[in-house]
């Protein structure tokens, strides 16, 4: 099978083209260098099946970034039958250098000048035929976003592969990758002969939007307002969807599963329904919010606004060892930690990425919010409630900054902060949909396995041994609660709350449900019972602990898969547990010492 490599600078629409040609869905982002794992797809070209590989975006074939090394490594070790080079037409005056570098390798290649629609609006005209003669490569003008010129480009690619079989071995390429000199002069030469650029860019839209959004005084307030509105939208629109999903799942259980499985022995029935079904439905109920979250975030990401947010917040983030992009990810974490952790892929430097991933799980995510809303309503008056909620958000920020400051020397990053500000773009619905779907699939795949195992485990803990009532102090969970008493008593958490905390390790969404199981009550009766059993100081201590310790198994799984390091995963778990205990201890003992 022939192999075709897709090469180009970051942010030139390479992944969009890949999606269009393959029909699959790679990530499409308006961030420089978004593709980290190699994507490939089988495509039909000139009557044959060929493998199309989407290589990471690179600025320079001889550069030192991880992505640039990946590309070099790939070309030196994999035979390639055709290189499709994708460049941004509007920036051809500087990007052509990459095409020249690649051409010098001697591979059969074609050059696609993408974003023709934008270039046209900006008044840039390129004589493709003249450029093709100068370069000695076929040159095509395309728009991957709208599909213009793509079928023709495929035909040219097929012809090129047919006529010019690759005679360059990977070893030769490896040696050719050593040096280049002539390129700068050649680039100037070709651009001069073939490209007409207006001295002043004709498209002022981006400039005008930036004047407002990056304003020295209004830029930050606008940014915060925009973020607030996005979260409002996600949760306002997501709540009915989530409720609907929960209702559907409850219906499924009561009308199908309960009658169907009632013939089974009660332990198996309990395991299947209270264990596995509840576990899966916990994840499933969150799918609508996750879908919405990704749809909205992919829209923001593709619009080019995230680079602007990074610009606005960088000064502050630099002081705590992070950079502007880290702030954006933290904000995403206030919705859900899992996509925020996945979002750190845009960072190239590993230490910076790890430090960001270490602080994200401290963001007060929507699942914790649900626990807090319930307990605050139970333990405080309606007048006190907003202040308590605000205090918890402040505590979340404080722990994030504390963690970043404490660990910034371990995760020192020397990566310079140089980022391209792409023009504002409106992603097409197709782009948004493909991207959102890809992320959801990824999330479900991983989260389901983890949650099923976790839930089965917790079910077992609260149901064995079988001769005592479920979730009572005689069960394994109860015994663990007693075991942890010496640690948890000093922070005011009794053995019943301790069991809820164990449940909370799987997912915070289960905490309130588990309290219902533990007390054998629900709704108002549960609230009253809790208000009798614990006072507000204990409740606050419990909430602080819930806020800081590991958010859920999905987050842990994501931490591990994204960092590819169990050590890092354990560091995150141990640090957050330790910090949670310490903060709760200081609060609880301090409050008690003050006579509260």
């Amino acid at each position: 099978m022939k192999r075709i490599a897709l090469l180009g600078m970051p942010n030139t629409g390479k992944s969009t083209l890949f999606n269009r040609l393959s029909g699959a869905s790679a990530r499409v982002g308006n961030w420089p260098g978004i593709t980290v794992d190699l994507m490939s797809a089988k495509i039909l070209i000139g009557g044959h099946i060929a493998e199309l590989v989407d290589l990471p975006g690179l600025y320079d074939l001889h550069g030192f970034s991880d992505d640039e090394q990946v590309v070099r490594h790939f070309l030196s070790s994999n035979p390639v039958d055709l290189a499709i080079i994708v460049l941004n037409s509007s920036q051809i005056d500087r990007q052509l250098s990459l095409a020249l570098q690649l051409k010098n390798l001697g591979l059969p290649a074609i050059l696609l000048l993408n974003m023709q629609d934008e270039a046209k609006r900006a008044g840039i005209s390129i004589d493709a035929e003249a450029m093709s003669r100068q370069l000695g490569l076929p040159v095509m003008l395309i728009s991957a976003k709208y599909g213009d010129g793509c079928p023709q480009a495929l035909q040219v690619a097929a012809r090129q592969m047919e006529e010019k079989p690759n005679r360059v071995s990977s070893q030769t390429i490896a040696s050719l990758l050593e040096a280049d000199v002539q390129i700068e002069q050649d680039m100037l030469d070709i651009v001069k002969k073939t490209v007409q650029m207006p001295t002043q860019l004709a498209d002022k839209t981006t400039d005008n939007i930036d004047k407002v959004l990056l304003h020295p005084w209004f830029g930050l307030p606008i940014f915060f307002a925009a973020m607030f509105l996005l979260f409002q939208f996600i949760f306002t629109a997501g709540k009915p969807l989530q409720d609907g999903m929960a209702w559907l799942l409850a219906l499924l259980r009561s009308s199908v599963l309960d009658p169907l499985l009632s013939a089974l022995p009660s332990w198996l029935n309990g395991l299947l329904l209270d264990g596995i079904f509840n576990g899966i439905s916990t994840v499933a109920a969150f799918v609508p919010i996750i879908v919405l979250f990704f749809l909205v975030m992919s829209m923001v990401e593709d619009s080019g606004y995230l680079s602007r947010a990074a610009f606005l917040m960088d000064a502050f983030m630099a002081k705590i060892g992070l950079d502007g992009r880290g702030f954006v990810m933290m904000l995403m974490g206030f919705g859900c930690n899992v996509p925020a952790l996945m979002g750190t892929r845009v960072m190239r430097s590993r230490p910076m990425r790890l430090l960001t991933m270490l602080v994200i799980p401290l963001s007060l995510c929507s699942a914790r919010l649900q626990v807090f809303l319930f307990l605050i309503a139970t333990l405080f008056t309606a007048k006190q409630a907003p202040y308590i909620m605000f205090a918890l958000y402040m505590a979340s920020f404080a722990t994030i900054f504390l963690t970043a400051v404490l660990f910034k020397n371990q995760y020192k990053s020397s990566e310079p902060f140089i980022l391209e500000l792409p023009p504002y773009r409106f992603p097409t619905p197709r782009q948004i949909w493909l991207r959102g779907w890809q992320e959801v699939k990824y999330f479900l795949n991983r989260a389901t396995k983890f949650i099923v195992i976790g839930v089965v485990l917790v079910w077992a803990l609260t149901h064995f041994p079988t001769d005592v009532p479920p979730a009572s102090s005689g069960t394994l969970a109860g015994q663990i609660g007693t075991l942890f008493a010496p640690i948890l008593n000093p922070i005011g958490i009794d053995s019943q709350l301790a069991i809820a905390l164990i449940f909370g390790f799987v997912a915070k969404e289960i905490v309130i449900g588990s309290l219902a199981v533990i007390y054998g009550l629900q709704g108002d009766a549960l609230s009253q019972q809790i208000a009798i059993n614990i006072d507000w100081v204990q409740g606050m201590s419990f909430m602080l602990f819930t806020l800081i310790y590991t958010p859920c198994l999905s987050t842990i799984a994501t931490l591990k898969s994204e960092s590819k390091s169990s050590r890092f995963m354990w560091l995150s778990i141990v640090w957050s547990l330790g910090l949670a205990w310490l903060v709760s201890f200081i609060f609880y003992q301090g409050a008690r010492a003050l006579g509260m």
């Binding site: 500087r94 250098s97 990459l98 606005l312 140089i418």
Partner: protein, 75 residues
């Protein structure tokens, strides 16, 4: 003669030299920072934040530390 980090918003200059180690040099090169190119400072972020510059059709943000390495001819 001046350095990029000393420009005021709206001012421009021509890149005369880039004082950086190889990795940073290449990164800047690929972003369009090349000797002889005209560069304009568009704006600075508040609180001593990054600089927003324009070279040709490309907008780039970079921190002051990196901007100090870029020497300009006053144009």
């Amino acid at each position: 003669m001046t350095i990029l980090s000393n420009l005021n918003p709206g001012e421009h200059g021509v890149i005369q030299a880039i004082h950086a180690e190889q990795a940073l040099h290449q990164r800047l090169n690929a972003m369009g920072f090349r000797i002889g190119k005209k560069i304009e400072l568009i704006r600075r972020a508040s609180f001593n934040g990054p600089l927003h510059v324009r070279i040709g059709a490309t907008d780039i943000i970079l921190r002051g530390v990196e901007a100090q390495r870029i020497q300009l001819n006053a144009a």
